[in-house]
Amino acid sequence: MNRNNKEFGAEGEDHIGEMLAALPRVSAPADFEMHLKARIARRSTPSRPGFYSALKIAVPASLLAVVAGFLFFSGVVMPDLENVVTVAENEAASQPPITVSEQLPHSDFVASSASDPPDVSETNRAAIAPTPSDVRVAARSATRTANSPRRASPVLLTDANSGGGSRDMAVRVDRPVEQNSTTDDPPSMSTPDKIAPGSEPNSTVPVTDVLELLGVVVVYDGGWQVRSVDAVRAAARSGIKTGDVITALDGKQIGEGATLAAGTTVRTMTVKRGETSVIIALRN
């Protein structure tokens, strides 16, 4: 032990080096090279793409697809109005047209084709209950105020063909709406009494009804100001928003009391939003 104390005297630091150099050296094991060659051989062999390596790609891709699908269907990535405007002209040509027309609330239940006569009795109407969506539209019509620019006759959307399809498509007028109805008429489901006798192929439809078919409730205030937008109709899908002012359909100015010919195809809607006026292609 005295030797140890001596080592850590004034020359202790030098002795540290000597002590370290005197440490016994360890050697690699005898099978060092064999294991080394085996390790090199393993690294040299390219690993085959196995199940787990496929999962590394498949799992993230699946998750990405699920998230993208969710965002798409939830409407998060729906184009906004500005985007629609930029492509409005091109889309107008590519979109299937929206045919604006009217049909009596009960006629879709008894007539499977547009050419069927609207010979509907109360019994028939009672026997066939309207769908919830029809009721909803009718109820909304019934809540109109007396000074609403809409005509008293309620307008219901009906499927053009019993085989299916979008509700906004291929709805047509079998009978013209009674134009002489007063705004004091109680809002109710249309009956044959309120239908003008005789079908006229060149009859007209009030622009408010046309706009409602497209899914907007409007009031006239120097232009057709949108009060509400039906989220499932063409207007909402096309980007129309509450507060927009609709000034023209297919480039044709629509003033108060304007009408469109039954069967008119509407492709675009001119909308004034703030100070900007844009043309929006309608989407089915």
């Binding site: 032990m1 630091e13 540290i16 002590m19 370290l20 360890v26 050697s27 690699a28 294991h35 690294r43």
Partner: protein
């Protein structure tokens, strides 16, 4: 093409009569680049013990040292095409071993942090004093020497890596200051300073031990 070069190289070696063991490191590297596995075996034979010893003194774990030593040669083998003969091969291989050892220390530290039992273990890199020695009388000189070696090894293991590496390379592996500076990619002055500092730290640790033991 590579086989042709290999045959040519072997022919030249046979012509000159120089065995593999007498070729320089760079010549062996060139031969390995040309596909001569025997040349690489010669490199392994030349450096496996120094590298294993260096890693053992650094990690204080023989199994880990052997594993990392093999990994060092694997790295050398697969990167041999990128090796330039501008500096000594010994510097190159010690640098690889050093980097692997430092990575291993980091892994250990992470494992210690993640381990529940690690909450009660001391950090292997901390500089706290180790336990005082067993004060029972030692039976013979061999045991004393073993105890002395173990104590020094433990003292080295308590040094921070930045001091541990240069002092091992200098005082155990016998590299020059220039070689150590090249391995650590440090300036010569910094290298010398760290070695001196490491010796001072070891002196303090071991002096404490021996004073305790002497009392």
């Amino acid at each position: 093409m590579a086989l042709d070069k290999l045959d040519q190289l072997r022919t030249e070696r046979n012509d000159t009569g120089v065995p593999d063991s007498e070729l320089s490191d760079h010549q062996l590297i060139e031969a390995t680049k040309n596909g001569d596995d025997e040349a690489f075996s010669q490199i392994v034979a030349r450096y496996r013990n120094p590298i294993t010893n260096f890693l053992y003194r650094f990690l204080n774990d023989y199994e880990e040292a052997v594993d990392l030593s093999q990994e060092t040669f694997v790295r050398v083998y697969f990167a041999i095409e990128r090796y330039h003969t501008g500096y000594a091969f010994s510097t190159y291989i010690y640098r690889i071993a050093t980097n692997l050892a430092i990575s291993e220390l980091r892994k250990r530290k992470r494992r210690t942090l993640l381990s529940l039992t690690g909450l009660f273990q001391s950090d292997p890199d901390d500089t706290t004093e180790f336990q005082p020695p067993d004060q029972r009388p030692l039976p013979d000189a061999n045991v004393v020497e073993d105890e002395r070696s173990r104590m020094i090894a433990n003292a080295i293991a308590t040094l921070p890596p930045k001091y541990r590496i240069p002092i091992i390379l200098r005082d155990i592996e016998g590299l020059s200051y220039d070689e150590i500076a090249a391995v650590l990619e440090l300036g010569l002055g910094t290298t010398k300073s760290r070695i001196s500092r490491a010796r001072g730290l070891l002196k303090e640790k071991l002096a404490h031990y021996f004073v305790k033991a002497d009392e």
